[in-house]
Symmetry: C2
């Protein structure tokens, strides 16, 4: 059974996965880049390499929210936007973008195709599972997308890195009512705590 997995989600101590006032200049919100310094550090710990590799292994499709695909809101219009990642995005498999506005698929170099799904989170998951051909599906951001799948109880594995900074405001993934995940691993390096949570066994 294909799993839906979140990897390398970075969260501040006060629970924010993005800072306030997201914009083209601050795609992660004000100070949001501080959440990812551990990920992009030149001297990053080898455990971080392991975590990145884990997030790429066995993945056959990706789901993301429209905000993660691009800064455009509302109807697509005459746009020529093809994502943040240049002509050869680092996915190399089908990517399903949640949107309220239909858009034809975009085929990129390197076997990445962006599909646009306006049927909601369940429809996107069904399409992604099918496209993954027996491999797992990775759930990207942003916060609202992860929160929707968590609330629906559809996330099988969540890898979250707690960065001990306070952003003061921004977007949370853990809001009221999300409880059905259990921690199975914890490792702290350079003051960042990397946790692996998996779907809790259903009460019998």
């Amino acid at each position: 059974m294909a799993k839906l997995r979140v990897h390398n989600l970075a969260m501040s101590l006060d629970g924010y996965v993005a800072g306030p006032r997201q914009s083209l200049e601050d795609p992660l919100g004000v100070d949001g880049e501080k959440l990812h310094e551990w990920l992009f550090a030149d001297d990053r710990a080898s455990i971080v390499d392991d975590l990145i590799e884990r997030g790429e292994n066995g993945i056959g499709a990706t789901i993301m929210g429209r905000n993660m695909f691009g800064p455009i809101r509302g109807p697509w219009g005459e746009d020529t936007w093809t994502g943040w990642w240049g002509p050869n995005p680092p996915y190399h498999h089908p990517v399903f973008v949640l949107t309220h506005h239909p858009h034809p698929p975009i085929t990129m170099e390197g076997a990445t195709t962006f599909h646009f799904v306006d049927g909601g989170v369940d429809a996107a998951l069904a399409l992604a599972v099918d496209a993954a051909g027996g491999l797992d599906v990775r759930l990207g951001g942003g916060a609202a997308t992860v929160r929707q799948y968590l609330r629906a109880g559809l996330v099988d594995e969540l890898n979250v890195s707690v960065v001990p900074i306070l952003l003061g405001s921004g977007e949370r993934v853990f809001e009221d009512g999300i409880t059905a995940l259990e921690c199975t691993e914890s490792v702290t390096v350079d003051r960042v705590t990397h946790l692996r949570l998996v779907k809790a066994a259903s009460p019998s």
Copy 2:
């Protein structure tokens, strides 16, 4: 200069320091006791002993909210409540209880005296600093009390232990706008991450 310090504050991964629906049976709210299993475990790690000792060293007075003192709400009436801790509470110094309702001091065995302060958080801090006689002041709970002092920028040191469980709802200490603390230490043992944060240097 006396410092205001919080010790052994336990917080869930989703940011709650107490569960929902606090009551006499569940003083920490539903499932709130799961936040403190690391503290009360028979086989607790030696680092936990160190953290407990650190929280007792150099403390000359304590401040707490009324909910931490007892379950009584509103006017005191004819109550004979003297706290949760029996005739000889583990403080052995003056304790200042925040309340909206005046109450005469209560002198307990072992040099603990409960003083009741109806003048707000600043007044309680001034009284506690004075009573501490050059030692530091410890800030107890509950969540609302810690949050008030954090919002006022009055907390010099916050020791928080992040427990990788999801409570789903409850009381937070980190709400919008609290940012002026910096992490200086992090250690994870038995999947609980113990962080020390100190007041950030003011921008010059």
